[in-house]
């Protein structure tokens, strides 16, 4: 009896990862056609509300790069306790931007203005 219980417990332990991982796999299968997403956190270098473009400075150490992305009608802009517009962003602001690569380049899904210590 004890042996059966132990075998059953072992089976459950071994199967749990597959069961709990399953939804993630389903999501991956469902989004197989979608572009992979990217997240950048950096400083706004330039913003153009007319063309809906945003340039961020990112990088590692002293090796810095510019990331360019465009806003889509569905792009969500958020900030602590507010819903800013693109015109509210200015050079020097720190943002976290999530987006995906398309044929037209990097398109932002969500841009969050971060509150960073200024002193």
């Amino acid at each position: 009896m004890q042996r059966h219980i132990r075998t059953a417990a072992l089976t459950v332990v071994l199967l749990v990862p597959f069961v709990t991982a399953a939804p993630a796999d389903w999501r991956a299968l469902n989004s197989a056609q979608a572009a992979p997403s990217y997240t950048y956190q950096g400083t706004v270098r330039a913003v153009n509300a007319r063309t809906g473009s945003l340039e961020l400075i990112t990088g590692v150490g002293m090796s810095l790069r510019v990331v360019r992305m465009t806003m889509a009608p569905t792009t969500r802009l958020v900030a602590a306790g507010a819903t800013p517009r693109l015109t509210d962003l200015k050079p020097g602001d720190v943002v976290r931007a999530e987006g995906r690569r398309t044929a037209a380049g990097l398109v932002a899904d969500r841009v969050e203005k971060l509150a960073v210590g200024t002193r």
């Binding site: 400075i57 990088g59 002293m62 810095l64 020097g92 960073v116």
Partner: protein, 382 residues
């Protein structure tokens, strides 16, 4: 009866001998590394001392062919190279010119890039508002500095000078908002990022942390000038180099004589120690050699306005006049001082302090010759 007493004396001698550590020389690893960590230090030194070629990832723009070209005598020490940095300051915003190749202006090109574009160095960015010269610092003790908690830096900060001592101090911020501490402007948050960024910015050796090559003045690289596939070093090479730098110990200060001990007191009395805080303590590390260690740092890792005479470029939240307090490590081996090496003596370096450092500078100028000599003797013990 005499035999047990003899054994006790032997035990005491052994115990005393165990507590007497050998002085750490420049280039030595931290005391207390495990065998495995010491192996990584040794293997990391091999990568650190490697000389890269275009075929192994060098360039096409670069300042040096390897880490050891600038941090030498011994590995991790200071070199005689001076490099060029540039940014654009449009107050209050600092543009690090990432769109024009970034703030580090590489002074050399590979033969292939020279042939393709006819240039010997990275073009100076047209948008730059200032140029800065930067000497190669010693990189001893950086693993310890990396582990000083941000909360300690913030506790030393006094941006509004609430204690009215004329010294403020505030942390710099990286482009993503995190508190910075490495580099002459205290821009880079962690040692790991500083090392990975140095591979890319100094040698144009791409790596897993920075897998893309820098362009030339905002224009893509010409085809065929960068033969090595990216990333040009792998994670293990990057990690080993990082461990080598992380495990480099700060050299043990020389034993102080009477003059030096008096100089140490003068150092505090005239206010040098307000920013050059003598000791800091690391936070938690899983490595015992780095965990909760008090060490001689002589820095607060904060930005201070050093006056218009020293001002050069902005970087992050650092204005042109802001510099991070330089850790006073291995001064005994230095022949040039300050961020650009303009001072050739310690006295000159102190007298060039301006802005928030002007109070200490003026008190230094008011010292007797004997007190000045004592202060310099103390600094030369570091």
């Amino acid at each position: 009866m005499t035999r047990p007493r003899g054994a006790a004396v032997l035990l005491l001698l052994l115990a005393g001998g165990g507590g007497c550590q050998k002085p750490v020389k420049p280039g030595d690893p931290l005391p207390g590394l495990s065998r495995a960590e010491r192996d990584r230090f040794d293997h990391g030194k091999v990568v650190f001392d490697s000389v890269f070629t275009p075929e192994t990832g060098l360039g096409p723009l670069f300042n040096a062919t390897g880490c050891g070209e600038c941090h030498e005598n011994p590995a991790g020490g200071r070199g005689d190279e001076v490099e060029v940095h540039a940014t654009a300051f449009h107050a209050p915003v600092c543009d690090p010119l990432a769109q024009e190749g970034g703030p580090v202006i590489q002074q050399h090109t590979t033969p292939a890039l020279k042939q393709a574009l006819g240039i010997d160095q990275e073009p100076f960015p047209p948008s730059a508002t200032a140029r800065a010269m930067r000497t190669s610092p010693v990189i001893f003790g950086r693993g310890l500095l990396d582990l000083v908690p941000d909360s300690v830096l913030l506790a030393y900060a006094d941006p509004d000078d609430r204690n009215h001592d004329g010294v403020k101090g505030r942390p710099n911020r990286f482009v993503d908002g995190r508190i910075g501490r490495f580099g002459r402007k205290g821009f880079v948050p962690t040692l790991r990022e500083f090392n990975a960024g140095a591979f890319a910015a100094e040698m144009s050796v791409t790596n897993p942390a920075q897998p893309t090559e820098e362009d030339v003045g905002g224009k893509p690289l010409p085809a065929g000038v960068d033969p090595a596939p990216d990333p040009e070093i792998n994670q293990e090479q990057l990690d080993l180099t990082d461990d080598f730098v992380r495990f480099l110990a700060p050299p043990t200060p020389l034993k102080l004589g009477k003059d030096g001990r008096h100089g140490r007191d003068v150092f505090s009395q005239i206010g040098c120690a307000t920013c050059h805080i003598p000791t800091l303590r690391t936070g938690y590390s899983p490595l015992p050699a780095l965990n909760n260690r008090e060490f001689a740092a002589y820095t607060d890792l904060l930005l201070h306005d050093m006056g218009t005479d020293l001002a050069d470029i902005c970087l992050g939240r650092a204005t042109p006049a802001d510099f991070r307090t330089e850790p006073l490590l291995d001064l005994r081996g230095a022949e040039h001082f300050l961020h650009d090496g303009r001072a050739t003596t310690l006295e000159q370096a102190i007298e060039l302090h301006g802005g928030e450092g002007s109070g200490a500078r003026d008190r230094f100028k008011g010292l007797s010759a004997a007190d000045r000599t004592a202060l310099v003797a103390f600094l030369k013990s570091l």
